[in-house]
């Protein structure tokens, strides 16, 4: 089903490409793709661009349907898509524009260790992390909560975890929305969603979710690194997870409901997976209330995962996590819809910004950025595949002007899971990773081959584009040491 797309893109400059509004009748705005010629070759291989054009049908969409350089074929929305709708002008919210894994996101913490300090303990560390941090399909954690507590998590997010002793106030300040987006409505979450979420707090999950111990192998911006307390060779940790079964259920419940909204509100979209409702409608409000609950659940989850990680480091290195300097650098969501103010054609507007596989990337001075980072801009964390690199960047003013303050979220898949499984030999891959000094532990052997580096675009190419286009600025690059996969 790898059908090549038929769209011809108009070149704006080396990193901006346009799908004209005239491409399909019904498009309300044009599509803008952030890519270079090299990445475009992969982007043309599937129907992701067609999906960028389809998103341009959404009522109230402003400026353009945007695609980040890690864009790939999703269902309904492309993965790596950004779309903002004008709430006062019938702008809609679409559960498909957020996806099933609501607030799937990533956090990065630092340590005071350098690679040489821990290289002899890496094997112990990878086994200990694998045993202490619950991972895998439907994994269940030791952090069990009552129904009443689960409601509390949905409102308080990371703060719930901090109150339980799983972190500090500092962690909250270094999390997007301080780890709890306002306006969560637990009564909008179905009983089934509660049931699915009950046992999964503090679990990593499966698929592309991971926990990695990394080391910084390249610095790009010394000033920003100093502000972040980062140095060449320093050991860092990255955690990628989401809202687990609770989020999937919220998306499913509302995607199902919103199919009926298409007729009710006379909305014409070319794909049912783009089902949506006006932000100001009862259905739109209910979805946003429930989505925020799932987002908060995900932040609490990543906070719990970080706590388990810190405890494991304490056990292996016989030191407190504070002494090891395991402070959170930042936590960003990359599947979310947010109500934000942005300037459109010189006028400030209240928008519903969908980031589906895209990271918020606010620039210096933005009041939503924690004070400690306000001078350099919001940290933007871009995980790559398990064999190459991950990046830390900072957001820019240009991103706020062009992309509603958004950037890419990862490397972006280029090969299907089935194709990757068919073409990758597990033992060869493990040996190859080992020769690069990377240790991998996974619950399912299948996950390792599905997630093989060759299944992804090179994150270095993706980050080059966002940096050169000016929508984020490179700070430093990490390479993996230990990888725990679900």
């Amino acid at each position: 089903m790898s059908e090549e797309t038929q769209i011809t893109l108009e070149k704006i400059d080396n990193y901006h490409w346009r799908i004209p509004k005239t491409y399909k009748p019904g498009m309300r705005v044009s599509g803008i793709v952030y890519a270079d010629e090299k990445l475009l070759k992969d982007i043309y291989k599937d129907k992701a661009l067609e999906q960028v054009a389809n998103v341009a049908f959404l009522p109230g969409i402003v400026r353009a349907s945007l695609a980040m350089p890690d864009i790939h074929w999703g269902y309904g929305f492309p993965i790596g898509g950004v779309a903002a709708t004008d709430i006062e002008n019938g702008g809609v919210v679409s559960p498909g524009g957020v996806g099933f894994d609501i607030n799937c996101g990533v956090r990065m913490l630092k340590t005071n260790f350098y690679y040489d300090d821990i290289k002899d303990k890496l094997k112990d560390l990878v086994y200990a992390l694998f045993s202490d941090v619950p991972s895998g399909v439907g994994s269940k954690g030791d952090i069990r909560v009552s129904a009443k507590e689960e409601q509390e998590i949905l409102v308080k997010g990371s703060k719930w975890a901090v109150e339980k002793g799983y972190g500090t106030q500092d962690d909250l300040e270094c999390t997007e929305e301080n780890g709890a987006i306002q306006g969560a409505d637990p009564s909008a979450v179905s009983d089934r969603a509660y049931e699915r979420g009950k046992a999964q707090s503090g679990t990593l999950g499966s698929g592309n979710h991971f926990l990695e111990v990394q080391t910084i192998d390249q610095l790009y911006d010394r000033e920003a690194c100093d502000a972040l307390g980062l140095d060449l060779g320093q050991v860092t940790v990255m955690i990628h997870s989401g809202s687990r079964g609770l989020g999937y259920q919220v998306c499913e419940d509302y995607a199902k409901d919103m199919i009926h909204c298409l007729q009710k509100y006379n909305i014409n979209v070319p794909d049912r997976q783009l089902a949506c409702a006006p932000v100001n409608s009862s259905e739109g409000k209910a979805y946003l209330g429930a989505m925020r609950c799932a987002a908060n659940y995900a932040w609490a989850n990543r906070q719990c995962l970080m706590h388990l990680t810190r405890k494991t480091f304490e056990r292996i290195f016989q030191m407190s996590w504070q002494k090891m300097g395991m402070n959170l650098i930042y936590d960003v969501a990359h599947n979310i819809a947010k109500i934000e103010k942005h300037s459109v054609d010189g006028e400030e507007k209240l928008l519903c910004v969908h980031r589906k596989g895209a990271t918020r990337a606010f620039g210096p001075g933005n009041p939503a950025v924690p004070e400690r980072y306000r001078k350099i801009g919001q940290p933007v964390i871009i995980p790559g595949d398990m064999g190459r690199n991950s990046y830390l960047l900072v957001g820019t003013k240009k991103a706020e002007e062009e992309t509603f303050g958004s950037a890419c979220h990862g490397a972006g898949r280029v090969k299907s899971r089935t194709a990757s499984t068919r073409t990758t030999d597990l033992n060869t891959l493990l040996k190859e990773l080992e020769s690069k000094g990377i240790m991998v532990k996974a619950s399912g052997r299948g996950t390792i081959v599905e997630e093989a580096p060759a299944a992804y675009k090179d994150v270095n190419d993706v980050v080059d584009v966002v940096h050169n286009a000016g929508i984020s600025k490179r700070v430093c690059r990490m390479r993996p040491l230990c990888v725990i996969k679900g």
Partner: protein, 139 residues
């Protein structure tokens, strides 16, 4: 032999299922989905099979098909079972009532997580004298 084919999709995975009747189509699609999710272990814990009643309504056959698969995924995750058999008491283009038989997840090796069945490139249609369905899952 497997009663379905895999469809390749960049981010996700899909299936193509054929059947002689609509009931068989719904059953085969559900079995294929759980075949992707898990495989039975050789040794069973002997836990009894649990029966669940699944009732769904929709405006049309495609929606009904998606609702059916998503309800099974949701039940499977909430109740920690893998569905292994189904009996239909009612199946029209807009309504389904069935008994779903779930085996304890402990008796399975779980290989993959399917988040949901999607409308993306969905097909549920008559093909010759039988039926055909294609569905992409979010994994």
């Amino acid at each position: 032999m497997k009663n379905y084919e895999l469809i390749e999709h960049t981010a996700d995975v899909g299936i193509r299922v054929k059947a002689v009747s609509l009931e068989e189509l719904f059953k085969n699609a559900a079995l294929a989905m759980f075949d992707i999710i898990a495989e039975k272990k050789f040794q069973s814990s002997g836990s009894p099979v649990k029966k669940f009643i699944v009732k769904q309504k929709a405006d049309n056959l495609e929606e009904l098909f998606i609702n059916w698969l998503n309800e099974l995924l949701s039940l499977s995750s909430a109740k920690e079972v893998i569905f292994c058999d189904f009996k239909f008491s009612k199946l029209t283009e807009q309504e389904i009532e069935a008994e779903a038989f779930g085996c304890d997840m402990k008796d399975y090796k779980v290989n993959a997580e399917i988040k949901a069945a999607t409308y993306h490139q969905l097909k549920v249609e008559k093909a010759g004298s039988g039926w055909l369905a294609e569905v992409i899952f979010d994994v």
